[in-house]
């Protein structure tokens, strides 16, 4: 099952954020479909649309890998199923 999800990354800008996040995604069979990224007054903000292949991994496993990345980078990373945003912001 292919599950669409939104990945948000927020925190102080530093070298290697995109590399660390995308490596973790690649290692957990999660494909990146779209990326938007900005830096506002030193705060790094990135939003990704990704697809989790739940035949090869579990949602929880991807979240755990990302939690490790978040801890090593000292940033806030969340992965949520995409429907929650569609439900809340679209009629």
């Amino acid at each position: 099952m292919q599950t669409k999800a939104i990945l948000s990354v927020l925190g102080e800008d530093r070298v290697g954020i995109v590399a660390a996040v995308s490596t973790a995604l690649a290692q957990s069979s999660t494909n990146i479909e779209d990326i938007r990224q900005t830096i506002l007054s030193g705060v790094f903000s990135m939003t990704m649309l990704v697809t989790v292949d739940e035949d090869k991994t579990t949602f929880e496993d991807v979240q755990e890998r990302l939690a490790d990345v978040a801890e090593s980078l000292g940033m806030q990373i969340t992965l949520q199923r995409e429907d929650v945003f569609r439900f809340m912001h679209r009629i």
Binding site: S8, T47, Q80, R81, V84, F85, F87, H89
Partner: protein
């Protein structure tokens, strides 16, 4: 392609991380059909087996949804059929059934199980009497069991004998749980026009008109609504305030609708209702009183409070109605004093009184909720406080309820403290001019003219 803007994603994250957006409860309603028996021990064993097997997956499923969607689900709960309907005979103590419910609830990991209940708005049957008589001991000997009794309805009027008996039972429950600030009373609600699909405690009961197993969801989000109202300019007019609340309520309700659909699908049970009640928590800012104050009342309870609460309640429903086609339960703002930090402050400041809370009941849901009163309050006074609340419900065709705590040994100004979601509350003053004679008249307040609708 990203169909959601980064701003919308950031808004949702802020709602959760800073404004306490959560799903207050995912409640599994369970029919106990088939658990009836002549012997109480058999009923208790059947209830235990039924609840512990049917609700086994509730908590893990709710936790997975919470994790995957990134929206906290604060409580996972169970509501069962009214226990009074399962028992026969006379003079039995039903505490063993409550103990069985408690054990099953602990085993499946839910914090409360509702349904130690009876509906007596027209008359008290043998099973109802046994249940009511067992309430004090049942609540004193369990942690997670909640009890409720419906004593009035618009179609039947008010059963004043039941109201007086419930006042006595509340007193007995307070005394039996005196060592813990009379906590038994925090798990006991007296209703008028009880609904069959309420997901919130302490009043959740699985109605007889429901399917065997149903998921009902209670939304929350006073903190989010407060933040939105506070962000409006001071000179925004009330139409703008209502509009902002409505738009926010839509988003909160959608989160609830999504969780309800997903939970029902994963558990393989019927999807019930989404309850649009705004339910406060003791957390700073997650307060219905704070919304009233943000709308522009100096302290909750002051003049203007009923206006602000009515506007809030109505706007929440209008926004929520677009968010789900399955509105149900109580769907009105809750005003539980001990569970709302700004309400506690308003009581301490002398701004919020029992009488004002009664007025507020007429425009929202479940009025006199989690209110501590002096332990020596006369039984007739407790009864007539409750009959006043019932009268509002009967005449206005709405649900009203009372969860009063005559805290044993406490006087006005003392505090009861339960910790957690039940919070802490100052003991409030009670009018010395109660309708003692009225309470003792008994009999039935007849069904009102507006019950004749056919």
């Amino acid at each position: 392609m990203l169909r959601i803007t980064p701003e919308e994603i950031a808004e949702t994250l802020t709602m959760v991380t800073q404004q306490h957006l959560d799903i207050r409860t995912v409640t599994l309603g369970l029919s106990l059909g088939g658990c009836a028996a002549d012997d109480i021990a058999t009923v208790a064993a059947r209830v235990y087996d039924k609840v512990s097997s049917a609700a086994e997956r509730l908590v893990p499923v709710a936790e997975a949804i919470e994790r995957e969607y990134g929206i906290p689900i604060i409580n996972k709960r169970i509501a069962v059929s009214a226990i009074s309907e399962l028992v026969h005979g006379k003079g039995h103590d039903l505490t063993p059934i409550a103990v069985a419910m408690d054990r099953a609830a602990r085993e499946v990991g839910v914090d409360f199980i509702g349904g130690f209940s009876a509906l007596v708005h027209k008359g008290i049957g043998a099973g109802d009497k046994m249940l009511m008589d067992s309430i004090p001991a049942a609540l004193a000997s369990t942690e997670r069991v909640c009890s409720s009794v419906n004593v009035a309805s618009t179609r039947a009027g008010i059963n004043m004998d039941a109201v007086l008996r419930m006042a006595e039972i509340i007193g007995e429950t307070a005394a039996l749980t005196a060592a813990r600030d009379s906590i038994g009373c925090a798990k006991l609600v007296v209703f008028c026009n009880m609904v069959e699909n309420n997901p919130f405690m302490a009043g959740a009961v699985h109605g007889s008109g429901e399917a065997d197993a149903v998921i009902n969801v209670g939304i929350s989000g006073p903190g989010v609504v407060r933040a939105v109202v506070e962000s409006l300019p001071q000179d925004a007019d009330l139409t703008a305030v209502a509009e902002a609340i409505k738009a926010t309520s839509f988003k909160i309700t959608r989160a609830g609708e999504l969780v309800a659909r997903e939970a029902a699908r994963r558990l393989g049970v019927e999807r019930g209702i989404v309850d649009l009640s705004l339910a406060p928590t003791p957390a700073e800012g997650d307060s219905v009183a704070a919304i009233i104050e943000a709308i522009g009342v100096k302290r909750c309870g002051g003049p203007g409070t009923t206006t602000a609460l009515a506007l809030l309640n109505d706007a929440v429903k209008k926004g929520g109605a677009m968010g789900t086609s399955s509105i149900g339960g109580l769907s009105g703002a809750f005003i539980p004093v001990s569970e709302d930090a700004n309400m506690v402050r308003a009581v301490r400041d002398g701004a919020l009184t029992l009488e004002k809370l009664e007025a507020m009941t007429s425009v929202c849901s479940v009025g006199l909720d989690m209110i501590a009163i002096p332990g020596d309050t006369a039984v007739e006074t407790v009864a007539t406080i409750m009959s006043d609340v019932c009268a509002i419900g009967v005449i206005n065709s709405k649900t009203t309820a009372a969860r009063l705590i005559p805290a044993a040994g406490k006087r006005p100004g003392d505090t009861v403290d339960y910790g957690g979601l039940l919070g802490a509350a100052p003991v409030m003053d009670v009018s010395p001019w109660a309708g003692t004679v009225l309470a003792r008249r008994g009999g039935r307040f007849p069904a009102p003219l507006n019950s004749l609708r056919n």
